[in-house]
């Protein structure tokens, strides 16, 4: 059994838990290469932010708001004269992880994910079109059930599109879990806790991988297979995101759009 050396939380019962039944179904009824319920929503004309979006991947819920491109006044960062800089601010509700755990702005996990989101979008956004300005991506995490990085990337993509920021492509992200020798797409927290998790952000039209992040060690020869599975998941995410953007534009064109159109 090729279990990784990740420290599993006590709730996960490693080694005893069946993560894939003989019928090929997982604990929540999904198949191996199936993503969780993916819900997204664009919130144009929020009135305060330039673009806003909400993404729910299973029980991982992230809301994103984009401010900008705007004057970098009041920012702690330096501005660049030939391009826009991208700043990501990530905050998490104290109850998001299941137990009460307030996290300050300097929390290590949050700053790491924020830096990762900046790194994904810095080359993706056509920053040279907005010299001397900044684009602030604010992410708010309401609940976490595995795949937080991916939900953050997906929410940020939608919010940037909603804000009308020029981008080369979507960034679609999905995780693959390596749990007790089996590969599972879009792992939940229970599955993730029992093994290693690979987060992949993929640019579906450019056909490039924008980011990979591995939470624990895995056998090197299985990485290729995991990446293939993850890219398949990212394409499923892309279909969901793109479909929603198109539906939103159709509603907008028909005068049914806007964030509060349905109230």
């Amino acid at each position: 059994m090729a279990r990784a050396s990740a420290t599993a939380p006590s709730s996960a019962r490693p080694g005893r838990h069946e993560f894939l039944s003989p019928e090929g179904l997982r604990a929540d009824g999904r198949r191996q290469a199936e993503i969780r319920r993916f819900i997204c929503k664009l919130e144009t004309t929020d009135g305060r932010a330039d673009g806003a979006a909400f993404v729910a991947q299973g029980n991982t819920h992230v809301a994103a708001a984009v401010h900008g491109p705007q004057d970098p006044s009041g920012s702690t960062r330096k501005m660049a004269h030939d391009r826009a800089i991208i700043v990501c601010e990530l905050a998490m509700a104290p109850f998001a992880m299941g137990e009460w755990n307030p996290r300050g702005p300097s929390d290590r996990m949050l700053t790491e994910i924020a830096a990762m989101v900046e790194a994904v979008f810095e080359p993706l956004v056509l920053t040279h079109l907005y010299p001397g300005s900044q684009i602030v991506i604010q992410l708010r995490v309401a609940q976490v059930d595995g795949g937080l990085r991916c939900a953050c990337v997906n929410a940020a993509t939608l919010a940037l599109i909603d804000a009308g920021v020029a981008m080369r492509d979507y960034a679609c992200a999905c995780t693959v879990g390596h749990v007790q020798g089996t590969l599972l797409l879009d792992v939940s927290a229970v599955e993730d806790g029992a093994g290693a998790e690979l987060s992949v952000a993929y640019l579906p039209k450019v056909q490039r991988i924008a980011l990979t992040h591995l939470s624990a060690a895995i056998p090197a020869d299985e990485l290729g297979e995991m990446l293939d599975l993850a890219i398949g998941g990212c394409k499923q995410v892309y279909d969901a995101l793109d479909g929603h953007v198109r539906e939103h534009m159709r509603l907008v064109a028909a005068g049914y759009g806007g964030s509060n159109a349905g109230f």
Partner: protein
């Protein structure tokens, strides 16, 4: 559940059918023979969309106009802006664009229409003209090399705004029109700024050009600046609120913001017996919006142009 769009008002399937809608990363055409416009970039010899929006072609120029974006600005646009900073020779104003707009001291009218060079004394007196948080109407004069827009108020149409309310909407909802200043027959004056800032104020007895170039006049244009609080009776305020809420409603449903739909909503809300503060209640708002769509006031959709 927060994210579920109610099925009450499904869009007709043919809406926007004539326009081509694209999303980022979607290939538009070969680069050869076409010019790269806004909202596109070149990848492997292909023109690719960079924003989600509608494709526009002018001869060989291919561009994609996003359905929602910050105000880009064009020379000659009427804008409503708010002063955020008073500098040495310039005011910095918020025009809802990527950078702050600039209003040069030399780009405003001096009181009484006096024509002369601006002196150091004028610089010291800048706060007597406009201070922080003042709302102005202005026109885009030119663009600086860094992309910031320079405004001017050198017409009696433009200037400080008072006795009214600022409503902000998505800039893409305001269309370029012959007339951006509109006075409704019920005594409310509006300025539809191209940048999505809409001014709603009381129409005073003084029309903007009443004392055009009187030397000695302290006026520098604008609407409602001289109006006193006492001019705004309860009924005038109520009408102003009704217009404001009509504009907010148009923004929420992403409908074009212009005089005709605002007027239609105003009338419809009165017919339906709604008070201004009832207009934005969910059920009332949907009722008004559906009525507006059915009335045909909205005319040609932006998407179909």
């Amino acid at each position: 559940m927060l994210w579920v769009r109610p099925p009450a008002t499904p869009a007709p399937p043919h809406a926007g059918a004539r326009a081509t809608w694209v999303t980022p990363g979607e290939e538009l055409c070969e680069e050869v023979g076409f010019l790269r416009g806004h909202g596109t970039y070149v990848k492997d010899g292909m023109l690719v969309a960079a924003v989600a929006g509608v494709v526009e072609r002018v001869n060989k120029l291919v561009s994609v106009r996003p359905y929602n974006a910050r105000y880009g600005g064009e020379v000659g646009d009427v804008v409503v802006c708010r002063v955020v900073d008073v500098g040495a020779k310039r005011w910095k104003v918020d025009v809802n664009a990527r950078q702050k707009g600039v209003l040069l001291l030399s780009s405003i009218n001096l009181p009484g229409g006096e024509q002369r060079r601006r002196t150091a004394e004028d610089q010291l007196n800048m706060r007597q003209f406009y201070v922080e948080h003042d709302v102005l109407s202005a026109e885009v004069q030119t663009f600086f090399a860094d992309g910031a827009m320079s405004l001017h108020t050198r017409s009696l149409k433009y200037g400080k705004l008072g006795c009214g309310t600022l409503v902000t909407v998505a800039p893409s909802l305001v269309r370029r029109a012959k007339q951006h200043f509109h006075t409704f027959d019920f005594g409310v004056a509006t300025i539809f700024g191209m940048n999505g800032f809409i001014w709603v104020g009381i129409a005073t007895a003084l029309s903007p050009k009443a004392d055009a170039m009187d030397v000695g006049s302290t006026r520098d244009g604008g609407i409602g600046e001289e109006a006193q609080e006492s001019d705004a009776s309860f009924h005038v305020r109520e009408r102003t609120c009704r217009v404001c809420n009509a504009i907010v409603l148009l923004d929420r449903f992403f409908m074009p913001v212009a005089a005709a739909p605002v007027h239609a909503l105003y009338e419809k809300s009165i017919e339906a017996g709604m008070s201004p503060w009832d207009m934005l209640l969910p059920e009332n708002a949907i009722l008004l919006a559906d009525g507006l769509r059915a009335s045909g006031v909205l005319g040609v959709r932006v998407a179909d142009e």
